[in-house]
């Protein structure tokens, strides 16, 4: 067993795929010689050279458009957007081009393109450097979206994304870069599109991702001492969404809370709640509860940012409320 960080898992996945496939190229802002602003990709430039590992100008539209152009002409690009908050800067290319290119050409191309972006709050980056992008990206059929929460998932899902012949956005949570975990040497590329039951329990289903998953696991451990058994599910893949795994759990627990690091409006939790109601209404004993940022924006000041993001205490209290209802 090799224990590495979530950050190292990203770099190892990239390096292993680049070593296996000469068509894999990697570019983004400050990713090559500097090794990434979060020091995620050091050594790739030195190992694979300036043709395959490139620093770009600060040009998000061109980065994504160029990645698309390489993907449809025979390369297997990985493009980095430094912060997921920059997704809207490149949204034309992501939404109108990347997601639709195969479709509107009637299937003339495959688009083996991976976009990596660092997302999430909790680190004082302020309003425009702290957002999560899943809900923005789920509106574009043709695009896959995954959000790994652990080093082993980061490694396996990123390798799976790079091998995928469809465009995939891999969202990395900045607050998890230092998280350590076992990534066995023989960890394979993972299939996209599967949620994972991280903790089993019979009383209530807790659906979460990334930072909120780890906070939900803390909450589940605390609630265990109160006799509440939570089944915690890591969404992992937002598009496609693995609703089967979630419904199986709801069928068992009859209760569900969804913990999102995002505003309430058009959030992914709403999709899961509506699917649970559509397909599992009669298994539910009480309303589905969404725990999220409401209409809050992420502010810079520590107490304000803490108040915006769901924390362990809020998650515990919501679960207690649902159990009491």
């Amino acid at each position: 067993m090799a224990e590495i960080t979530y950050r190292e898992a990203v770099c190892k996945a990239l390096a292993d795929e680049m070593a296996l496939d000469p068509d894999v190229v990697f570019f983004g802002e400050d990713v090559a010689e500097a090794g990434g602003v979060f020091k995620v990709t050091p050594g790739l430039y030195e190992r694979f050279g300036p043709a395959r590992v490139r620093d770009t100008p600060i040009s998000e539209q061109a980065i994504i458009g160029m990645a698309l152009g390489t993907a449809i002409t025979g390369l297997r690009p990985v493009a980095e957007l430094m912060f997921a908050d920059f997704v809207p800067v490149a949204l034309d290319q992501i939404a109108n081009q990347v997601a639709k290119y195969r479709y509107m050409s009637g299937g003339q191309f495959i688009v083996p393109l991976t976009i990596r972006a660092a997302q999430g709050g909790g680190n004082g980056f302020g309003t425009q450097h702290s957002q999560c992008a899943e809900s923005w990206l789920m509106s574009f059929p043709g695009l896959k979206v995954v959000s790994p929460s652990t080093p082993v998932d980061m490694y396996g899902l990123l390798r799976g994304a790079i091998r995928e012949n469809n465009p995939v956005v891999v969202l990395e949570h900045k607050g998890l870069y230092n998280l350590k975990g076992d990534v066995p040497e023989d960890t394979p590329a993972m299939a996209l599109g599967e949620a994972r039951v991280v903790r089993s329990g019979g009383h209530i289903t807790v659906v979460a991702s990334q930072l909120m998953l780890h906070r939900s696991l803390e909450a589940a451990a605390l609630l265990m001492t109160e006799g509440i058994e939570c089944e915690v599910i890591d969404v992992r893949s937002f598009a496609p969404l693995d609703i089967r795994t979630i419904l199986r759990s709801v069928k068992k627990t009859h209760r569900m809370v969804i913990v999102e690091e995002a505003p309430h409006g058009a959030g992914w939790g709403g999709d899961i709640a509506s699917l649970a109601v559509d397909e599992g209404l009669f298994w539910l004993e009480c309303p589905v509860r969404r725990i999220n940022m409401g209409n809050a924006l992420i502010a810079y000041s520590p107490p304000l940012e803490d108040a915006a993001l769901p924390n362990v205490e809020r998650i515990c209290q919501s679960i207690r409320d649902v159990m009491a209802s």
């Binding site: 190229v25 043709a51 395959r52 490139r54 770009t56 100008p57 040009s59 539209q61 061109a62 980065i63 994504i64 458009g65 160029m66 990645a67 698309l68 152009g69 390489t70 993907a71 449809i72 002409t73 025979g74 390369l75 690009p77 034309d92 290319q93 109108n96 081009q97 290119y101 195969r102 479709y103 509107m104 050409s105 009637g106 299937g107 003339q108 191309f109 495959i110 688009v111 059929p141 043709g142 896959k144 012949n165 469809n166």
Partner: protein, 440 residues
């Protein structure tokens, strides 16, 4: 046989309009394409065009009538059947004048960009092909207009009549394996690159046999087998995509180049500047070819753009920028060939600005009332087909009989494509969910 003049689909959600006035009365002779009536829609007042040449037989709708899409508004006695019109001269071409293309005066005086010096003539066979393609483009575009008026093509179309030389001149300079992205005004690029007319017309009709299985339509014409990576309906988005094709060429050392066509309006969007900058920084084999047709939708470019020439903008990205006569296919060829040789030699990108003109409005609902008086006529003096035809006649490579034969062959091919496309089935609704993802 009389032809029905029907209420065209004006695009958007417009299902009806109001007949304002008739411009032609029963008994009057009308030319094909001539305005017959004015119709008010929720977007603009548009002119109803004659679908055929002939004598206007009768008005069926009256001024003030609400008219729905598809309704018959008038009938024309089609004299095409009497072989008196279209077979003899389906393309109206003025003799090439010597005057420079008409230019509006600029508000701001800036240094102008370099002009192309010296034109490299195409070889006789290449001239023949360029002329054939220009005729095919002209006739196909006119037919597309007609199909739109008959509601056989829906949504919108953007015709490139007048801009044919930009496409064929470029195509003549490209090699197999080169790749092209272009704009929603891109039918001419597709034909110049050798796209099947049948697959193209079928695509515009939304048929299963269309180039994109009916999922793209007029604005997304794509044929990977000829290097056409796609026409794009988002202004400027195709430039970064061409950058990617060029990066693949550079990394895989294919010796090919990528071309991005765009209009002068796209030079004001961010993607243009990002693409030119990155192409220059990485010395990518990409050619940025601007078809400056003077109007970005309904706005004359002098109102939106402070430079004298779009090619000037190349200087900001340390690449060559050159202005060429976009009505002369050989001028375009010369510039693209030279820029292509440079790119293939690893010397990086170039910006080529073709000064050209679209004879029609921006799209189907635009009658181009913003043109200056005499502007269109001035440009018609430099019609791209006439320019090349005259050179070939002067060099003894063509005579009027041969030209008429070429026209006829092009017309036959267009008619064949339309008939074939009309006979094709629509896609099954199950195909709605196909090709969203690659499965496998």
């Amino acid at each position: 046989m009389p032809s029905d003049v029907v209420m065209p689909n004006l695009g958007f959600d417009t299902q009806n309009g109001r007949l304002i006035e008739w411009l032609k009365q029963p008994g009057e002779t009308v030319r094909k394409g001539e305005a017959l009536a004015v119709i008010e829609s929720d977007k603009a007042n548009v002119e109803l065009e004659a679908v055929a040449a002939g004598v206007l037989l009768e008005h069926i709708a009256k001024p003030g009538d609400e008219v729905v899409v598809g309704a018959v508004l008038a009938r024309i006695d089609d004299i095409r059947d009497q072989k008196s019109e279209s077979a003899a001269k389906p393309v109206s071409i003025a003799a090439p004048g010597t005057s420079q293309p008409y230019q509006r005066p600029r508000k701001t005086a800036t240094a102008s960009a370099a002009r192309l010096e010296g034109i490299m003539p195409l070889l006789p066979a290449a001239r023949q092909k360029a002329l054939q393609h220009m005729l095919a483009i002209r006739l196909a575009e006119e037919k597309i207009q007609e199909l739109f008026l008959l509601n056989l093509i829906r949504g919108t179309t953007h015709l490139a009549i007048g801009q044919e030389a930009c496409a064929v001149g470029t195509a003549a300079a490209l090699r197999p394996g080169d790749q092209v992205t272009c704009t929603y005004r891109g039918h001419h690029h597709a034909i110049a690159l050798g796209m099947s007319l049948r697959a193209m017309i079928a695509e515009m009709m939304g048929k299963a046999a269309g180039a994109c299985k009916g999922k793209g339509g007029s604005m997304h014409m794509t044929d990977a087998t000829i290097g056409l990576l796609g026409a794009n309906a988002i202004v400027g988005a195709q430039l970064p995509i061409a950058l990617g094709a060029a990066l693949t060429a550079q990394i895989k050392r294919t010796g090919t180049v990528a071309v991005a066509f765009f209009g002068e309006g796209a030079s004001n969007i961010g993607a243009f500047h990002e693409a030119l900058n990155m192409a220059a920084v990485w010395t990518l084999p990409v050619l940025f070819i601007c078809e400056n047709n003077l109007y970005g939708e309904y706005s004359v470019w002098s109102k939106t753009t402070p430079v004298q020439d779009i090619a000037e903008r190349a200087a900001a990205y340390a690449m060559p920028g050159i202005v060429v006569d976009g009505q002369d296919a050989e001028a375009v060829y010369t510039a693209v060939k030279s820029a292509g040789d440079r790119a293939r030699a690893g010397e990086g990108p170039s910006l080529i600005e073709c000064k050209t003109y679209r004879y029609r409005g921006h799209s189907r609902t635009d009658t181009a009332p913003y043109r200056l008086a005499g502007e269109l006529d001035a440009w018609l003096q430099r019609d791209p087909i006439a320019v090349l035809k005259a050179k070939m006649i002067e060099d003894g490579q063509l005579d009027e009989v041969e030209f008429a034969e070429m026209q006829h062959a092009a017309e036959v091919a267009v008619v064949d494509a339309v008939e074939w496309a009309q006979a094709q089935p629509y896609p099954s609704t199950e195909s709605l969910y196909e090709d969203v993802f690659y499965e496998g």
